[in-house]
Subunit: 312 residues, 2 copies
């Protein structure tokens, strides 16, 4: 692999994908804060059903300004940290390099677009992965791992498959990561929100895993109604989700292992919730297109209360 | 006081109003279950800022069939117990007697109408009181106590001030209870729901007292939106709530002492929640009139989940 990678945020997601790329031969530079000492001394470990491995020699940095400019920057911060991007991103990005946002929700590409120059390719990378950071420099990969890549356009039009997208996809595939190419990033973002909006919020509000929410008729129905509302929001923004998508997602959720969503994990661990990316931005985007997602708004306000109280 | 009273359900509400009537000279017969032994042996005690008192000699029954027929039956069960009314009510009610429902929510009068004969006057008694049963036969009255009385019509029309209503009001006033006469019971029920729907539900879902909900801008706004939805539901049912009502209620809530709602107390004590009376019936009633209370429906489904899990 000839492209040099930077990983901003060496948590479960950044640690997993960055380590897999390095194991496959890429030159990878990791920005880490809390885990810096441990990674500098002992490297990165990944436990995974696809094979445990240990990278003893890891290029790790405490400051972005110390990083070399890279061909591809993988942003794997929580979206709640995106205010740091203006400082972290420019030093790590080579002129002509590509930014890939491995982040939840909606709105991150727009934030990056305001920082980098107009020609910089910005890709959304929607990850579907169960992974946790279970110790300093130690990632436990539990299941899945596919990344959906899509290219961001300033006018938010569908760009199809671009050259930078194909290049990053090739590297991920070389590292054994399944990749899906989305011709329309916004459609991919809305599609992922259809699941994240009901299940992230309800899992926090009702202290429940996915299986409990699906086995109660009241919350199974509520999840479906919330999904329908997000589909209508997407449609107002010109993104048509196929009719059978909701049933497929519900069916999939019913059959998957009991799952604590990422927002539930964040809440349990006292971290700020990703409300801006997963709720506020989609609500605002649909509203600007003339559609009010009323039920989603109820969840958003309830979650704001819980998040505010927890961080008070 | 010449009218003989029965009290079905000697909890905080039944205990308080029944004891005040007896203290003022009425003949009162109490149906009690868990507290029967204690009340039979040691009577009823009320602690109150309006004066503590003790009734040592209380007519208390374990079975409704043992009660004498009474002129007025005060129903002070939780609405979750209303399936018992078909059995409890007829023995306690004298032919020509009046039923008064000291209950939350909507739909109880209709349930009673299906049990008693067509001529029986049915009154709704909406209580605004802070009182708890803090031990067997021991009621702690904290604040307020006003009762709003309204007469039920089979076609749900406004009946104005009826003779049975005036008679019960006179007895309550003799017992030192402030009374308000509602010319339109359904309007009174909707008006009370405007507060109960947001604050009962949110207090349970967010484990919060009224002051916390009002001091957070997100939940203060959500409470207001829920209130607006209930006002619209009432309007669909032909009940016009005055325009400044919501602001008055919010202002009142902001200035009142931090308050755990009755539903929050029920939830904390593992009791079934009054979801049918406070959520399901109003939702159904508005829907039948052509209006869907969407936000209220979200709360209802969330509460069903919590209630179901707690009682599983």
């Amino acid at each position: 692999m000839s492209r040099r990678y930077a990983v901003l945020g060496t948590g479960a997601v950044g640690g997993f994908y960055g380590a897999r790329l390095q194991r496959a031969g890429a030159e990878v530079h990791f920005l880490a804060r809390s885990d810096y000492e441990q990674i500098a001394r002992a490297g990165l470990r990944v436990q995974s059903p696809e094979g445990d491995f240990h990278l003893s020699d890891v290029r790790v940095y405490r400051q972005a300004t110390a990083m070399p400019p890279c061909d591809v920057v993988l942003v794997a911060l929580k979206t709640t940290q995106n205010a740091l991007l203006a400082e972290l991103l420019p030093p790590a990005l080579k002129p002509g390099g590509t930014v890939v946002l491995l982040q939840n929700g909606m709105g991150s590409e727009q934030q990056v677009a305001a920082i980098v120059d107009k020609e910089t390719p910005i890709l959304g990378g929607l990850t579907f992965i169960c992974a946790n950071k279970i110790g300093p420099g130690l990632v436990q990969h539990i299941d899945y791992g596919i990344v959906t890549l899509g290219a961001y356009a300033h006018d938010e039009a569908a760009l199809g498959v671009t050259a930078p997208m194909a290049a990053v996809a090739a590297d991920l595939q070389t590292a054994g990561i399944p990749v899906q190419l989305a011709e329309d990033l916004q459609l991919a973002r809305w599609s992922k929100l259809i699941w994240n909006i009901p299940f992230n919020g309800l899992s926090v509000l009702l202290e429940a895993k996915t299986d409990e929410l699906m086995s109660d008729p009241a919350t199974a129905e509520l999840a479906k109604e919330l999904m329908e509302e997000v589909v209508a929001g997407a449609l107002a923004c010109g993104r048509r989700i196929p009719e059978d998508f909701i049933d497929k997602m519900l069916d999939h959720t019913r059959r998957m292992q009991p799952y604590r969503t990422s927002m539930k994990l964040d809440y349990e661990q006292g971290r700020e919730l990703e409300l801006e990316a997963i709720y506020a931005t989609p609500l605002r985007t649909a509203r600007a297109a003339g559609f009010e997602m009323v039920r989603v708004g109820v969840l958003y306000r309830q979650l704001q209360f819980l998040d505010g109280r927890q961080r008070a």
